[in-house]
Symmetry: C2
Subunit: 453 residues, 2 copies
Amino acid sequence: MKKLMVTIFGSTGDLSMRKLLPALSRLIVEDQITKEIEIIAVGRRAFSNDDYRDYVQKNKNSDFDINTLKDVLTYYELNIDELSDYKKLKDYIDQKTNEDTVKLFYLAVAPELFPTISKNLGESHLVKKDHFNDRIIFEKPFGHSLDSANEIKKLLWQSFSEKQIYRIDHYLGKAMIQNIIMVRFANRIFEEIWHNRSIKKVQIIVKETDSILSRGAYYDKSGALIDMVQSHLLQMLSLVAMEVPLSYQSEDLKNEKVKVLDQIRFDQNVKLFGQYKGYLEEKDVHNQSKTETFVFLKAYVDTPRFKGVPFYLMTGKKLDVKASYIMIEFEETNEQRKWNLPLSTNKLYIKIDPLDGVSLVLNSKVPNLKDEVEQVELDFCSACRDVGNRVEAYQKLLLDSIEGHKTLFARWDEIEKSWTKIDELKKTNSNLYVYEDYEDLKNKIKREFNEEI
Amino acid sequence: MKKLMVTIFGSTGDLSMRKLLPALSRLIVEDQITKEIEIIAVGRRAFSNDDYRDYVQKNKNSDFDINTLKDVLTYYELNIDELSDYKKLKDYIDQKTNEDTVKLFYLAVAPELFPTISKNLGESHLVKKDHFNDRIIFEKPFGHSLDSANEIKKLLWQSFSEKQIYRIDHYLGKAMIQNIIMVRFANRIFEEIWHNRSIKKVQIIVKETDSILSRGAYYDKSGALIDMVQSHLLQMLSLVAMEVPLSYQSEDLKNEKVKVLDQIRFDQNVKLFGQYKGYLEEKDVHNQSKTETFVFLKAYVDTPRFKGVPFYLMTGKKLDVKASYIMIEFEETNEQRKWNLPLSTNKLYIKIDPLDGVSLVLNSKVPNLKDEVEQVELDFCSACRDVGNRVEAYQKLLLDSIEGHKTLFARWDEIEKSWTKIDELKKTNSNLYVYEDYEDLKNKIKREFNEEI
């Protein structure tokens, strides 16, 4: 295994405390990555290594043991606006690495800082363009519109080539999201019926019970459409609707996903933007904010495989339950109609949260004296096994970025296509409906669009 | 509901004690049939009604309450060889019934007595030919070869028309056997892939751990092929392999089942007849008996739908577990081969015994850091619900015979076709393999035919 140098910008931030350091710790403890690793925690504070470790110890809200990182973790003070600081960091890193070392630069900072940091990373030659061992990693939001995303891209592409850029959508790190591909392509019973002659509709649902909590400053500028749909939900949709990729390799998968994103057509007559009652009183929220905390959308994917099949996307805050899943509903059989059987349909659930797994709703004979049919659920709960040993999304995503597997990271054209669709949708923005609760939204959707959710 | 008169021949026998009276009791208690019912227990012994009820109380090994039948159960002494006794019984019954009364005559006696009883039932006009309210019910064996079955049929047809004859195969009364039809035709995901492009193989398995127990006298004359394959296993096979029936009605279903039975072709090179070690020492078994207690067969159904798909039939005594199920194995996907994924296949289990239900084996991503695939089982256990309130096969079968639903009863041409196939198979009978246990059989089958069971 190649030597590994992980540099984290924003090392005192929430993401580092809660996710990155614990994930790196587990990768080391579980022997998933090389022992020859060094982690440089970059920050503006004048910390010694001990100070930083104490800080982590105090601020981590995960059960990882900071001592597992003792020998590999170094704190490095840096002013992110100062090019000379980056040059010094380069000298420091150069002493410890060679051409073969994999160097990850994780931007665990607010997106406003991406331009400055990426410019300095490039100009200081900390990250050499086209040198694929030098990798830059950051999280969504990837802009807030096609234009802004384009600007960020241009900036990044000045210093790095696309292959060096790892855009993290932590949702894609979840096991069941990756499982969509396996469910579709490693199961004959699904592979063969995965098309519009058999699939009646698709639902992609991410329901939350929480409010926006303390994230008002960020959330009020983005809203559910940008925060959830542009990224997570459209990614899920493209995995469900894509054609068979040439191979299981990242680029082939992405080629197919991009084609789907390009073919999405939102039904402008069936969409609801909602805002929960009380949102305007939340901390850091503008008191006349029009930001939506709920979105319900109906879309079509105009490919031969899925033409005519409605895709329902729904996500929101303060709903009835925390639940994240994809539901594929199949058509009735000919015999159900001809024989006057109940028209209950087969449904495949790919469950992501809170308990991940797969389940299938089938029709079965009621084991009684009559010829009655009932729906039964065949369930496989993945999360119900090996409790306590779950793979965290970040662990998977970090490992993949170390190993150079880009399947779970968003390529630029995916971002571009999804923003194009979101921008189109926003142009015809509908009124904002202030909702009491999920029941209220359900009734509204039933009333207004005659759709069941 | 029409008035109901149930006459049981063999009313002191095992079947009456264990199955028929308890099933009738439950039908009455659960209000499934008319209150205007009378049960005549026919026997040769000189019992009073009280004697008979005492006898039942002593000999029943089921938890039913004889008092539930107190008001409707009458004992009637009759010599089955005496036509005059039948005539007297007719006078007795005539007093209590009219043209509209449904009259069931259940022959719960040894098959050797069928000819005598059916002849006398006809000649005494207890059962009037073509009068569909008059019904005669009996159990397998329906002969021991095509010739003998034909003889019985001729005899029966002299006195009754086919529509009056209810041939009970108690296996068909089991909820999950009836469920095969629902699984196939009320589930789009199965309906659409139920053919030889998607189905790789089918197994029909009835494994028992018991020996022949005290049934030597009967068993030694029949053996596993006649006792199990000709009836139960071929019935299951025909339900799995049949074309879509025109309707869910009995005659349409049977038309399709018969076509399948006609198209079965046994692979003469892959079959094993076994006899468990110690069988020759069993009570009432001939000490040089060649009767098989185990059968393993490979068959094809030469219809466009199933051509080329092997059907494995296996049944036997003294095997590893008590288990009865149908397993449909599907093909791998194209992608499994192209992407070098494990070639594990989808499998649908329709479980009949000991716990009935449906389960499905799928491929799923292992929720770990690697792109590994594992098999997971999605399970629905029907038997795990409403314990203590299970419908007994006989309850269902009696109800259907009362209501004139013939779906679960074998029509003559089904019997005829299955005997034709069994006779063909017997003509090329193979050697008898004396087996220690299931492991022994498994190894033998692997060695000799290179087949896995």
